[in-house]
């Protein structure tokens, strides 16, 4: 299989080469490459501990890789913090969700980009526009069907695991402008809520924004992904198209049961 051929007609919007990340003795990323094309949904699949989360953390500025380089829209990018990445339009839902448990849903959704009241109160007294923030949060959660949340001012710590995840996904989808990264967004979600998230992912792509989706749910992956990045032992094993391979193949590749054509087992 000619990997290089896949989708390489365009320039990738987000590209990484030779990323290395070590934690003490563990090498979580081992000279890993990565390409995200404009407007696509790229799924990343791999065993537990393969280094998927480490990869997207490196891409979104949450960790600094020990080696390797990242380019965003052809320009070399150095993200010192998630805020840097966010300023460039990369929005990420981390596996740990990154929520402040004691704060409300609305506070969490707008963390770091709060809305201020119009007029003097906002300009001079820097008062938050709570009604607007709450309305926005309510709308986004309704889109996801998370209407079982009774009170938008509820502290996040009082939400069920699934509700919490829903809030995080709603936040990323609402604010991502260039790239949206989702690390297992449906892991804790129910059937109905998962469906909503998948629809939302398609909506976001329809807005022309590319998405990186990490998931262990093969049916979901094969349903929405344009390309699938298979991660194994800290690096990219291959990239496949869901219509050219079956789920069994993908599972076989990522677990090491089979090797894709033209690739030799690295480790």
């Amino acid at each position: 299989m000619d990997q290089k051929g896949i989708g390489m007609t365009q320039e990738p919007i987000l590209k990484a080469r030779g990323l290395v990340k070590r934690y003490g003795k563990v090498t979580a990323l081992d000279r890993c490459d990565f390409d995200l094309m404009p407007g696509e949904i790229l799924a990343v699949i791999g065993d537990n501990g393969a280094g998927k989360s480490s990869l997207i953390k490196a891409l979104s500025g949450a960790v600094q890789p020990d080696a390797g380089e990242i380019t965003l829209e052809g320009r070399r990018a150095q993200f010192a913090s998630p805020l840097d990445a966010r300023a460039q339009g990369i929005e990420c839902v981390y596996q740990t969700l990154a929520m402040s448990p004691a704060l409300s849903i609305a506070d969490n959704m707008f963390m770091g980009r709060e809305l201020r009241k119009p007029g003097i109160m906002g300009r001079w007294f820097r008062q938050l526009d709570r009604p607007a923030m709450e309305q926005f949060a309510r709308d986004k959660l309704s889109e996801l069907g998370l209407m079982t949340i009774q009170n938008i001012n509820q502290a996040v710590e009082t939400l069920s695991g699934g509700q919490r995840q829903g809030v995080a996904v709603a936040r990323a989808a609402a604010f991502g402008s260039k790239v949206v990264i989702l690390d297992e967004p449906t892991a804790a979600l129910g059937v109905k809520e998962s469906r909503r998230v998948l629809e939302l992912i398609k909506d976001v792509r329809a807005r022309g924004i590319p998405i990186i989706l990490i998931s262990h749910n093969m049916p979901h992956v094969f349903e929405v992904a344009d390309r699938i990045h298979i991660h194994r032992l800290g690096r990219r094993l291959c990239v496949i198209r869901p219509d050219e391979y079956s789920m069994s193949d993908a599972v076989a590749f990522m677990t090491g049961a089979k090797l894709p054509d033209g690739v030799e087992e690295a480790a």
Binding site: P82, G112, Q150
Partner: protein, 357 residues
């Protein structure tokens, strides 16, 4: 796989027409329940209730307790602890702790006094200088916590010693006498002025404290920065990932705390008349401020609590100290009972919270 036959590929078809209803549960009724719920929603009410009970008890025990002078004395005694408590609250909300608050306050007051008297700078200018230097000391704490990533306890334990020692060295242990200040630099004693509505003397310092508490309550509740302070204290990693510049917020918080301490130092001159490097606030101010904060219901683990609670916390300590002295126990027993009452106050607080959960 054994389940093949039962699996229908498209089980999500069942979703069509799914209920969009929000779960609604019957509300519980009853006055007591409502009170509990209200207490739960308004954590600062709990210290307030403890305070009212304490006032009532001491009022019964000591006939002098409800006199105007007692009230005004309590208020003016908590002014400094209250302002230090504002500084401490900010820091503790970020899950930090500031042991240097008292030292910064004393050193700032010494700086203001000595700059005026030793170097002949006009009082308003040296007040500004003192406030600026206090802010700098706080910012240094913040920088060590946020950038060098040292634990706040150890940073401020270190700067507490450093600042206190610098204070003695710089001042050469010299006290500036009250009469000299009143003559040459009355601006230093500004907060010692008072008004007397209906015979109750209230220092300007008391109004300053109330204003600071009100402003801080607004800022923490209604501005983005305030929410960031809570987020940093709640879970710094999450806050960072969510896009809060935690480092910057921390430095700002400690610097602001330093500024408040310097303000407290200025108030000290007004209140004590003189400028003395050996004021006990330098040694005890931190413990007093922390006591007020914790009795006021702010969690030492950060992210939870309100500044108004701290105000009531300071009041509780003030009322206890005064009340016990008026009831007439000897100082050792007063010390003993205050220890007991601190624990009791927090236990009651905890019990009310639990009952209402």
């Amino acid at each position: 796989m054994s389940s093949e036959t039962r699996t229908d590929g498209n089980f999500e078809a069942g979703l069509s027409g799914a209920s969009q209803k929000v779960a609604v549960f019957e509300e519980r009724k009853g006055g007591l329940k409502r009170l509990q719920e209200w207490l739960h929603m308004t954590p600062s009410a709990v210290p307030m209730i403890v305070l009212l009970v304490a006032v009532a008890v001491f009022g019964l025990l000591s006939p002098n307790f409800f006199k105007a002078i007692t009230i005004s004395t309590i208020l003016q005694q908590i002014a400094i602890v209250g302002i230090l408590g504002c500084a401490q609250s900010l820091v503790i909300l970020t899950a930090g702790i500031d042991l240097s608050v008292g030292a910064i306050a004393v050193f700032s007051s010494v700086l203001m006094g000595q700059i005026t008297f030793r170097y002949g700078v006009p009082a308003p200018a040296s007040i500004l200088l003192g406030l600026g230097l206090g802010t700098l000391m706080g910012a240094a704490n913040g920088w060590l916590v946020a950038r060098v990533k040292l634990p706040p306890f150890i940073v401020t334990l270190g700067t507490w010693q450093i600042i206190l020692a610098a204070n003695y060295i710089f001042s050469a242990n010299e006290t500036i006498r009250s009469s000299a200040i009143a003559e040459n630099a009355p601006a230093l004693q500004f907060w010692g002025n008072s008004i007397e509505p209906g015979g109750v003397k209230v220092l300007y310092a008391v109004f300053l404290l109330i204003a600071l508490v009100a402003i801080l309550a607004y800022v923490l509740r209604h501005t983005a920065w305030g929410r960031h302070v809570y987020a940093v204290g709640d879970d710094p990693d999450a806050a960072e990932l969510a896009g809060v510049r935690t480092g910057r917020v921390l430095i700002q918080v400690y610097a602001l705390a330093g500024l408040f301490c310097a303000v407290a130092g200025w108030v000290m001159i007004g209140r004590f008349g003189s400028v003395s490097p050996s004021a006990s606030t330098g040694q005890m101010g931190n413990i007093q401020a922390i006591t007020a904060v914790v009795i006021g219901g702010i969690s030492l683990f950060g992210g939870r609590g309100s500044i108004v609670g701290m105000f009531f916390g300071a009041m509780i300590v003030g009322v206890f100290e005064m009340g016990l002295k008026m009831v007439g126990t000897d100082p050792q027993w007063t010390f003993f009972l205050i220890g007991l009452l601190i624990i009791l106050a927090v236990a009651v607080d905890q019990w009310i919270r639990k009952a209402s959960a």
